[in-house]
Symmetry: C2
Subunit: 240 residues, 2 copies
Amino acid sequence: MSASHTPEDVHDRCAHCVGRRLSVCSSIDDCDLAILANESSRMTVSDGRSFIEEGAPANDFFVVTGGRVKLFTLLPDGRRQITGFAKGGDFLGLAASTSYAFGAEALGGATLCRFPHAGMQRLTERFPSLEHRLREEASRELALMQARMTLLGRKTARERVATFLIERCQNLEKPDLSHPVELDLPMPRTDIADYLGLTIETVSRILSAFKKEKLISIRSITHITLLMPERISTIAEGME
Amino acid sequence: MSASHTPEDVHDRCAHCVGRRLSVCSSIDDCDLAILANESSRMTVSDGRSFIEEGAPANDFFVVTGGRVKLFTLLPDGRRQITGFAKGGDFLGLAASTSYAFGAEALGGATLCRFPHAGMQRLTERFPSLEHRLREEASRELALMQARMTLLGRKTARERVATFLIERCQNLEKPDLSHPVELDLPMPRTDIADYLGLTIETVSRILSAFKKEKLISIRSITHITLLMPERISTIAEGME
DNA sequence: TACCAGACTTGATTCAGGTCAATGTGATGG
DNA sequence: CCATCACATTGACCTGAATCAAGTCTGGTA
């Protein structure tokens, strides 16, 4: 019998998880971690594999514990809107009643912690603060989506790309725009385009234009440095 | 001293409210209505008046008890994205952490019930099911927003207007698309345009086109009949 | 070291929807 | 009953981003 089933290890699984620090799990006391661990299970998803099917019955919540994930909705003819990128600590599955309102797939490999709805309900009954934490998470997400709707409905292509770059900065631990910022863009251009409601050609052209204007430097496809973050931020708000 | 301050009347105020049937208040038992009433206050907002300022400190939740309300975000230069229309029973204020992520104003006069955050917290502590209900509300809203992002990011003008018409149908009590449907559009074209990420001219042109194609008939500016709701629905999904 | 496949960039052209400019309409009030 | 005003519609034209079509770069592999 493997050691991985002892209570201590189950406890540790949660104790050392990013979700413990960042996600809804932070609303649970250390001494109760075993209960949390018992209601959840780990899973690994390899690059490009889908683990939430849009429209499928919504049976689970997920916490991203490692890697990255993209969320999207599709139109019948294949047009795709990426509604968000998730990273370690992010909570997935709130935008669902009986069926998921979005699909999800791994972006370069991801690890997840899965909470079946039934287990989550047992947890929220036992730890009422968890329910509050879930609502906070939903509120935060709602506020982000308001901004994204403004982006998609009212911003120009240039403003969208600038907004995207600034958003990536704000995902960093030190969101300081007063100095150059090095960014890692783990997603392909196609995903950026589908996130911004543009085509890949337009995204590419605008990044090239920013480079020509010395606003950014492109060290490699995935590695971009914002040379003038504050100017980019100004562009993002439509005030250039 | 007016009778309006007796406990019975306070109770009645909630008992006869649309929110009682439709909104988060439905998670409270009849016998506790006085407690609910005590944490809330009624207010009236006249046409076009704003009652939530985007970016202002978020101190209250609101339930729409009558009339209609529009929610929006603004860019510094005045471009506006309407993020939703709310009607009787709808809950407002979840998309806010410390400050509101959106502005709100009445569309032709509205009545609201205001819940200060502090009072709402007392209520959720006393009635844990209310917290759950708030989360459900947030989830419902999140699912709607996913669809709206797809609309704004990936649909054509024609598909957007068709989607808007179908959404209006689904707000009705009998969402039956197999027969002609009479719709009331209480909002001006400007608002429809800002909701769909289009200009008012484009909205107007597409409605005229739908009329020419015998998909709708326009009885007056605010009164439209969908003659072939299912065909409009097909257009809305991009499958025409 | 050269080849290949997939992802990205760049250029030329097109077109959906925006902008600008009349014109129409219907509610209100003198 | 007409003038006014705000809103909506329609038309002519323009433009930002999409589409179509070559290139180019990169990393893997033989």
